[in-house]
Amino acid sequence: MIIELGPPGVRLDWMGPDAAIVVEGATRTRVRFVTEADRSAVLVGGWHIEVVVESERLAALREKARRGADFAGHGGPTEVRAIIPGRVVAVSVAPGDEVVAGQQLLVVEAMKMQNELRAPRAGTVASLATGTGQTVEVGDLLVVLS
């Protein structure tokens, strides 16, 4: 994957082993690089942005997989996965239900807050991989839309 480096004249001024200023013309933005175990992130403006280093070969494979997923997204099933860990407190659909884009599928409670998970597109609920009361982790399959 190629990084776009923006206009010429962009540079990094290092302020220490893990801190730097990104200089773009008159704009100076402080960044900090943090690494823990195998995870790396850049802190900028209060944002915690995870970054991964990968080889050209791996990047190409990932790109291929992503394109495949996009293609499948137009006709094939769509997998809806958990993006926050928590507990499923309500399931609003059942297999076979027709749903419209944006319709609530289920509610995941995390940190005392209820988070509605909505359908990314219209379709039919092909299967439910979770139920009320179940604990889910990030990435867990919740619903398959066909």
Binding site: D18, V31, V44, W47, V51
Partner: protein, 532 residues
């Protein structure tokens, strides 16, 4: 139970409370805050902890820490019997509940009192009376305190034959209106209704949510005031019938009825208006027989009129901004009052000048949430933690580097407070302090707070409860940051400088052998996948 420290109390000051040990029935930053107040008074602090908090700061800071159960709050911090037993076995003279968990459960205050232990808070009867929002609304009317227009009795939701009456009431209240839980708080059981057709479903949903959250499904109707400012008055009562108002706080910046930013005093309000507001709150406190600390919440309509919302019978999350401008330690006052002492000279003097306090304080709640995803919770492990310092900066926090922000609990990780001579200087200080703040490993609300500290309308004091939704575009903010993150990682890689210390371990699949190209991932991908 493990005794962690034995302080000598020889160095403590003049004031001696009759308490030798106080159990702090809470966790996180507020438990730390209360333990510190105990230590300053020469009182031993007994901490309680769940399995998730065995190594938490509040557990380590306590003089004695008692395990009370597994991570789930219902099996630990919400267990009245376990908390009271912990206090009894540790020989505590008093229990401070903090906020949240059991703080506003009248049954808890009663159990504590029945065990012969002092409850640091209002009497159980006052908690019960004021915790019922409908009761509080009726009480306000008896002392000429205007309430937000709405109903004063529970909606007869279980009586289909009364639906016509309910509809009539709703039309009288006016739309948009809110269905609210009488036993509610934190937006639970609350539903917004824009027209008559949507009312039955909202009543049903509000009832069900209130019943599951509070064990009481009673709901009532209240007109939605928009744009409104949320302004609340800090009250202290000492049991002699004396109730003092220690100024007000503006908590208008909210999302989903959760506060994000609080300040004292409320900007753009004259001392005369403040005095009138404080007097209303004091009338309410006296009518309720208030002892110890409580907060009366009001909405201020665009025409400048105030309407009473509810009373919280506990220490508020945002009590620190009042402490900074009033020069009063509210937790110390709470402990004094619980010990039977009258309001301190400092508190009485503060109440005298509360309408014109002469300085300004702002608090931002740094929570583990993603501001680009409508502030959804973002738990995780904190990999790096840099907090600001310097003049006029106060940090109240219960976590640090290496700690896990557990999904079981509230996601507040730190309260950053600034104090300065006036509001402009306080905002400058806030911006500076936020620039020094760096938290790695989890996403927090810091980007939002940085936006607030730089925003012209915030500086102009144009705050309202709709401000966050109207003015802040978290996704756009993140896109800008992503661009810079990509630039930074790309440049670092090209320079052959691995931006980490110490050098990261080589992954087994040999990825570190790569040509050093980076890919910004994770949150960006997450955003694309999560329907907004």
């Amino acid at each position: 139970m493990a005794s962690l420290r034995k302080d000598d109390v020889a160095g403590r000051g003049q004031e001696r409370l009759p308490f030798r040990r106080v159990l702090v029935a809470n966790r996180g930053e507020i438990a730390v805050r209360i333990i510190r107040a105990c230590h300053e008074l020469g009182i031993e602090a007994i901490g309680i902890y769940s399995d998730a908090d065995a190594d938490a700061l509040h557990t380590r800071l306590a003089d004695v820490a008692v395990r009370i159960g597994p991570a789930a709050p219902t099996e630990s911090y919400l267990r009245i019997d376990a908390v009271v037993e912990a206090a009894r076995s540790a020989g505590a003279d008093a229990i401070h509940p903090g906020y949240g968990f059991l703080a506003e459960r009248a049954s808890f205050a009663r159990s504590v009192e029945e065990a012969g232990i002092v409850f640091v808070g209002p009497p159980a009867d006052a908690i019960q009376a004021l915790g019922d929002k409908l009761h509080a609304r009726r009480l306000a009317q008896t002392v000429d305190v205007p309430v937000v227009p709405g109903t004063l009795e529970p909606v007869a939701i279980d009586r289909p034959d009364r639906l016509a009456v309910v509809m009539e009431e709703a039309e009288r209240v006016g739309f948009p209106l809110l269905v609210k839980a009488a036993a509610g708080g934190g937006g639970r059981g609350m539903r917004r209704v824009t027209d008559l057709a949507g009312l039955p479903a909202a009543l049903e949903a509000g009832f069900a949510e209130a019943l599951s959250a509070f064990g009481d499904g009673a709901v009532y109707l209240e007109r939605e005031i928009l744009p409104a400012r949320h302004i609340e008055v800090q009250l202290l009562g000492d049991g002699t019938g004396r109730v003092a108002a220690l100024g007000e706080r503006d908590c208008s910046l909210q999302r989903r009825h959760q506060k994000l930013v609080e300040e004292a005093p409320a900007p753009g309000i004259s001392p005369a208006e403040r005095r009138a507001l404080h007097a209303m709150a004091v009338r309410l406190g006296k009518a309720a027989g208030l002892r110890n600390a409580a907060t009366a919440e009001f909405l201020r309509a665009p025409d400048g009129t105030f309407a009473f919302l509810e009373v919280n019978t506990r220490l508020q999350v945002e009590h620190g901004v009042t402490e900074l401008v009033m020069g009063v330690d509210l937790v110390r006052e709470q402990l004094r009052i619980a010990a039977g002492l009258p309001l301190s000279e400092a508190a009485l003097a503060a109440a005298e000048r509360a309408a014109d306090p002469g300085s300004h304080a702002i608090e931002v709640r740094i929570a583990a949430e993603n501001p680009a995803l409508d502030f959804t919770p973002a738990p995780g492990r904190i990999s790096s933690w840099t907090m600001p310092g310097g003049p006029g900066v106060r940090i109240d926090s219960g976590v640090g580097q290496g700690d896990r922000v557990a999904p079981e609990y509230d996601n507040l990780v730190a309260k950053l407070m600034v104090h300065a001579g006036d509001r402009d200087a306080a905002i400058d200080r806030l911006r500076r302090a936020l620039d020094e703040t760096e938290i790695g490993g989890i996403q927090t609300t810091v980007p939002f707070h940085r936006f607030v500290a730089r925003d012209a309308s915030f500086r102009a004091g144009e705050v309202s409860t709709g401000w966050v939704a109207e003015r802040y575009d978290g996704a756009a903010d993140l896109r800008r940051a992503l661009g810079i993150a990509k630039l930074a990682t790309g440049l670092a890689a090209i320079e052959g400088r691995h931006p980490s210390r110490p050098a990261p371990p080589k992954p087994v699949d040999g990825r570190a052998e790569s040509d050093g190209r980076w890919r910004a991932a994770g949150r960006a991908d997450t955003m694309d996948r999560w329907p907004r």
